[in-house]
Assembly symmetry: C2
Homo-oligomer: 215 residues x 2
């Protein structure tokens, strides 16, 4: 079932933050479905999935977003633009939703999960983490981003993670101002242009000895 | 080069937050090296790599950490315990370090990268993101966490991400109080115990239609 180490590392070395996408090339539907499945399968703290993912293919909407994204061409040229949204707050109803889904998936009586609900509530709703819940939720979304970029590389799909955008403008243009979610981070997905000079540059990583310490 | 969709999805469906590890089973050195390479290859904003990774194998240190980790058995039973550290602040010297590494990797004169340095400084050191730089750095670390969990699953290695620990106690026990890094999140890596009842439970994910919206 597992893949050889070299296959994994080759994919991770092949990937880079694509600056110029081939605007004429779309990700085939079946591969895109796999990436959506990947997003859905992303792990999260307690399994709470405090996120939503907007998949933007509409050219007019991409063009509207581009000036609010440091005018980066990836916004309009990438095949699929994903805006990863994080939940603004975590309340009792979020816990109830997960408890119901868990009971349903596993054929359990929801009341048997009361301890699990209480543990989450003490941590996220009533506990110290409630004061920084936006940060907690955005951390979870970045797990999804990491998972998405690695999965895409393994499938031969290019990505460019984008923090250089205006979340308030995105929220307004995407109609999120009155919703439970906010724009957290963006990931453009598609295929590199043969003319992207960045694709040929050496990857820059600090030495393993600077980054990893054995204890 | 790329892997079939089904291989990827099978690995992501196989993985789960392992609650009981087989304490007698170690990850072979060559596979562990691959996971360290995976961590080093993790993408980050601007390529700044605002992280370090402590790999803990020492049984005595694991035992010291466990009571500060909600007493979870994964801390002591997993083959390799990774503490992912995030940088506390981003300063000019962090930018210089990246500029030097970039110039060195790509055979460039560092002065040709002045615009790149200025862009980072305006955003992270002098700009609005400087006020929330710990959050920014922790977001990057969660990319590494997502990448690590997905890579491990593809290699047939089990993981358990752990937010249930006391960062101040970890920082103290790991000697980080006066360092540039703080304990951000933990990931236990190893092999599931055949007796972990969680391994057989159905995965709980909201419907794709609740999580993904096409625009």
């Amino acid at each position: 079932m597992s893949v050889p180490s070299e296959t994994l590392l080759e994919a991770l070395r092949w990937r880079y933050a694509t600056k110029a996408f081939d605007a004429g090339r779309s990700i085939p539907d079946d591969l895109w479905q796999t990436l959506e499945d990947t997003l859905v399968l992303t792990p999260s703290s307690y399994g709470l999935q405090p996120w939503r993912f907007l998949v933007i293919r509409d050219a007019a909407l991409k063009a509207e977003l581009r000036p609010h994204s440091w005018n980066q061409s990836q916004i309009t040229d990438a095949s699929h633009l994903v805006v990863l949204l994080s939940r603004r707050h975590i309340e009792g109803r979020d816990l109830d939703r997960l408890i119901e889904a868990t009971a349903s998936s596993r054929g359990l009586d929801p009341t048997t999960l009361a301890g699990y609900r209480q543990m989450m509530a003490k941590d996220l709703v009533d506990g110290p983490r409630s004061a920084t819940i936006e940060r907690w939720a955005s951390n979870q979304v970045y797990i999804a981003l990491g998972n998405l970029m690695t999965a895409a590389a393994l499938l031969g799909i290019d990505t460019c993670p984008i923090e250089g955008f205006s979340p308030p403008d995105y929220d307004r243009l995407l109609g999120l101002d009155d919703s439970d979610y906010r724009s957290c981070v963006v990931c453009a997905c598609g295929y590199r242009s043969s003319e992207d000079r960045y694709s040929g540059l050496a990857k820059v990583r600090y030495d393993r000895s600077e980054l990893i310490e054995q204890r």
